[in-house]
Symmetry: C2
Subunit: 133 residues, 2 copies
DNA sequence: ATTGTAATCAACCAATTGGTTGACAAGAGG
DNA sequence: CCTCTTGTCAACCAATTGGTTGATTACAAT
C-alpha cells in the first residue's frame, strides 16, 4: 500500500462501488452498514472499500459509541483537479498555438508532417515535467 | 477489460508512469520509443501503458509510416472534472447549510449528535445517485 | 452475565496488473 | 534481397485487488 497520494486518490475512484459511496457521502455521513445496504456484497467488502477511500484521504471515520460514521473529506478532490487542469490547459494552449501557426502560414508552405515533433509548434521550453517517476 | 468509461480514465491515471506520459504528451506528440526513453522499463511495458491510456480514450495513435505518433485527447478530462465537481459542490453546499443551521440555532438547543444523520441537515431530497452499480 | 449489534481482522481465492523475455510484423534504406 | 528500426503479440511471473467465510473486538441493552 505504498504509492503517492495522487495515485491513491485516482485509484480509489477507479471503482464504481467506491465512487457511488463517495456520491452518497456527499449528501450525508453514514455508517458502514448504511453504506453497505444497497450493494449485494458483504459488509466486510464494504469495510475494505472504505479503507481504500480512507487511505486516499477521501474519507474519515470518527468513532462514536460502537458506530463509526463515515465522513467525506471533499478537499482532497483539489489534488486531482489541480493536476487535471494543469495538463488540460497546457494541451489547449498547444492547440491554440498550432491553430495560430496554421492560420498565418501561406498555404504552399504547409509541411506534410516530416516528423512527429514539428519544431515550430514545440518551443522546447519547460524541461520539467509532472512527476519524474 | 470491461468497466465503465469513468473507471477506465481514473484507473489509467492511477499510475505515476502513465500520468507522467500524459504530462509529456500535453507538451507535444511523441512516438513510443521517445516516450519510453526516460523510464527504465522495456518498450513493451510502455506499449502496454499506452494501450491502457488508449482504452481510456486519453490517447490516440495515428499510424504514419512505421512510426505511430501518440496524441493526447485532452477532452476526456471533462468526464472526470464533471464527476468530481458535482460531488465537491454538493459536499460544500452541505457544509454551508450546516453552518447556517448552527449559526441560527440557540446555543442551548445544540444536540450532542444523537445519530450520524441529523434530519434537519439532510433534507432527504435527490433519491438518485451517481451510478447505482 | 448474557445476548445482540456494528465493525474489523485474518486467511484464503480468483482475476487483474505491471513487469519481463522472446518472437514476430511492417516499413525504410542500403 | 537483406537488414535495421519501430512497435506489437504471446506467454509467463509476482504482486495487488476485490471478493468470500469465519473469528474477534467493542459497546449497548436486556
Amino acid at each position: 500500500m505504498a504509492a503517492d497520494p495522487l495515485s491513491r486518490v485516482f485509484s480509489a475512484l477507479a471503482d464504481p462501488t467506491r465512487r457511488d459511496m463517495v456520491a452518497r457521502l456527499a449528501a450525508s455521513d453514514a455508517t458502514v452498514n448504511e453504506l453497505a445496504e444497497p450493494y449485494d456484497v458483504t459488509v466486510q467488502a464494504v469495510s475494505k472499500h472504505l479503507k481504500v477511500l480512507e487511505d486516499a484521504g477521501l474519507v474519515s471515520r470518527t468513532r462514536e459509541a460502537q458506530r463509526r460514521p463515515v465522513h467525506l473529506e471533499a478537499n482532497v478532490f483539489d489534488l486531482m483537479t489541480k493536476w487535471i487542469e494543469r495538463y488540460r490547459r497546457q494541451a489547449e494552449e498547444r492547440y491554440r498555438r498550432l491553430d495560430d501557426l496554421l492560420r498565418t502560414m501561406p498555404d504552399e508552405l504547409l509541411p506534410t508532417r516530416p516528423t512527429a515533433t514539428a519544431p515550430e509548434t514545440e518551443p522546447e521550453t519547460e524541461p520539467e515535467i509532472g512527476e519524474p517517476r
